[in-house]
């Protein structure tokens, strides 16, 4: 099957749920899509942290809608995982047991309102750069889900930038708040594109299968090139003394990333790893009687329908 499968991939024919596929391809997709789904769900927490404290009613409505969009993304990504033969319940169990990962960026805390702006601008910005190529990936359901997700994320990024712009043009305290948020979110955002190409253990095969279309370092460069002029426009300073435009390369150069921090956070040592996972475990546990009741009620209704 392998050669034939690879030919289909090369020809740009989408793989659909009922098609034959190598186990490795299936498992890679399950791992990647479920990580993405978990990131949406855990990602609700740092931003949800500011819904009840949003500074105006309009900002509150925008943030509520945004966090709701993320729950929606989680929902259809879990559905995409189901097309590969793993139930939502099982996928969620893997998150709660600590077996599955989610994006490490959500293990950092949201300390001020400016963090909500920085997340929209930088974190959603980095996510879009990672995700736009996935709209063209070889697995049909994932590609299609990503088209819709990218549209909404683009909207979120604009909203985040708009929060930053308002703060940057606000009082000295607000501008300081915006700068502080950029200082704290910049490096973790660069890590969102994954480890350097030389150390990326899944990359080569994923690129051959067209699950991945650009390398981590290529995506990171695109992100820096996009954000650097925006930071200038905001009058904020990116916390990297080595950041500067390189006319020969036609790209921004930037300083070294502290990959020890990245691996440490992945291993569970980020400031919020424990509480993020605990929040999901608590929600799941405290919701158990509600899910049981809904199932029991549905069973009773089915039984009544059979008798009638």
């Amino acid at each position: 099957m392998s050669a034939e499968f690879q030919e289909r991939i090369e020809a740009g024919i989408k793989i659909e749920p009922k098609d034959e596929m190598p186990e490795g391809y299936r498992n890679t997709l399950i791992r990647q899509i479920s990580q993405h789904a978990h990131s949406e769900i855990v990602g609700q927490l740092p931003e949800g942290n500011w819904i009840t404290r949003a500074p105006t009613l309009k900002r509150k409505a925008i943030l509520l809608a945004k966090v709701q969009d993320e729950a929606g993304h989680g929902l259809y990504l879990y559905a995409a995982v189901e097309t590969l033969g793993v139930t939502r319940e099982q996928t969620i169990q893997d998150l709660l047991s600590g077996k599955a990962k989610y994006s490490s960026i959500f293990n950092y805390p949201t300390l001020t309102w400016a963090d909500i702006g920085a997340i929209g601008w930088l974190v959603d910005g980095a996510a879009i750069i990672n995700q736009i190529p996935i709209c063209r990936c070889s697995y049909g359901p994932y590609a299609r889900a990503m088209v819709r997700i990218c549209k909404e994320e683009t909207f979120h990024q604009r909203q985040g930038f708009e929060i930053m712009l308002t703060l940057a043009r606000g009082t000295p305290e607000q501008k300081a708040m915006a700068q502080d948020a950029l200082n704290r979110w910049w490096w973790p955002s660069l890590m969102m594109h994954g480890p350097p190409d030389a150390d990326s253990k899944h990359s080569a095969q994923s690129m051959a299968w067209k699950i991945k279309l650009f390398s981590n370092d290529e995506l990171r460069q695109k992100f820096v090139d996009q954000i650097a002029p925006q930071a200038d426009f905001l009058g904020l300073k990116i916390p990297d003394p080595d950041l500067k435009w390189n006319p020969e390369r036609g790209h921004y150069d930037f300083g070294p990333i502290d990959w020890n921090e990245f691996y440490s956070v992945i291993q569970g040592n980020g400031p919020c790893n424990r509480e993020r996972l605990q929040a999901r475990i608590d929600a799941h546990r405290q919701g158990a009687w509600v899910r049981d009741a809904a199932a029991a009620y549905a069973a009773k209704q089915r039984a009544k329908a059979r008798v009638a």
Binding site: I51, V67, A283
Partner: protein, 254 residues
């Protein structure tokens, strides 16, 4: 109030707007913590609808007052004694049964209230009510279904649901209270006789509880005070959280 402004209409709008604002604030505490993903999304929908309605009522209230206060001034710069919501909507989320019972009691009233307000002599009130009524029809359908599902679900869910509807019962009387201001408003055709809605509300609640295999609470003592700005201790904490940024950075634009 500025000279010539309409104090009765202003207070009337605050009562309507504050109910929506505080209940929305409570519901938004669930965002990211719901019992199942679909419910997380649905609860947030209801919170968003109510927030939208609060903004319409409070913006209009600010215009009527005529002192240049907008929706945000009214939401973020009033203290607890100036809030006019009923006590029911500020009650804690507690568990999903309490959240559902609070929502059901409120939705059943809200739906009736809006269908009356759609006929208000004040055109703006009628328009806002008409827009809100469409959303609240869905809210009531959803909360009724959950009362039935949890009531007629498992032993545990029935017990929790019964506990919740009993505990919140004494906060339902305030919804049908008529004071001097309501009577004046009614005479002007602004809105209905709230007390006249009680019977239809009770019939709907009784029908839903019967299907949910729940007992109708028997208590007759009703708590009151929210509509006059005498709240439970909880409201102060809701406002401390909600108003934090506006209070900490006076005059800043967000």
């Amino acid at each position: 109030m500025s000279a010539g402004s309409d104090n009765i209409l202003f207070e009337y709008l605050l009562r309507l707007g504050d109910n929506c604002l505080i209940l929305s604030q409570r519901l938004s505490e669930w965002c990211g913590h719901g019992p199942v993903l679909e419910e997380d999304i649905a609860l947030t929908n209801v919170a968003l609808d109510l927030l939208g309605q609060a903004r319409l009522w409070l913006s209009y209230a600010g215009e009527v007052e005529g002192r240049g206060r907008g929706e945000d001034d009214l939401a973020f710069l009033r203290d607890a004694r100036e809030f006019r919501n009923v006590l029911l909507v500020e009650q804690s989320n507690a568990d999903y049964a309490f959240t559902t019972a609070r929502q059901f009691y409120f939705d059943a009233w809200h739906s009736l209230a809006l269908s009356e307000l759609m006929r208000s002599a004040d055109v703006r009130v009628a328009e806002i009510a008409e827009k809100a009524a469409k959303e609240v029809t869905y809210h009531l359908q959803r909360s009724s279904e959950w009362v039935i599902r949890l009531g007629d679900g498992t032993e545990e869910s029935r017990h929790r649901m019964q506990t919740a509807v009993d505990a919140l019962w004494s906060y339902t009387g305030e919804l049908f209270e008529m004071d001097e201001m309501d009577r004046s408003a009614r005479e002007r055709g602004l809105g209905p006789d709230w007390s006249a809605l009680r019977e239809r509300w009770m019939q709907y609640v009784a029908r839903t509880f019967a299907e949910a295999t729940l007992e109708i609470p028997q208590g007759t003592w009703m708590q009151r005070g929210g509509r006059h700005g005498v709240h439970s201790e909880r409201l102060g904490y809701i406002l401390a959280e909600m108003q934090f940024l506006q209070r900490a950075y006076p005059g800043a634009k967000w």
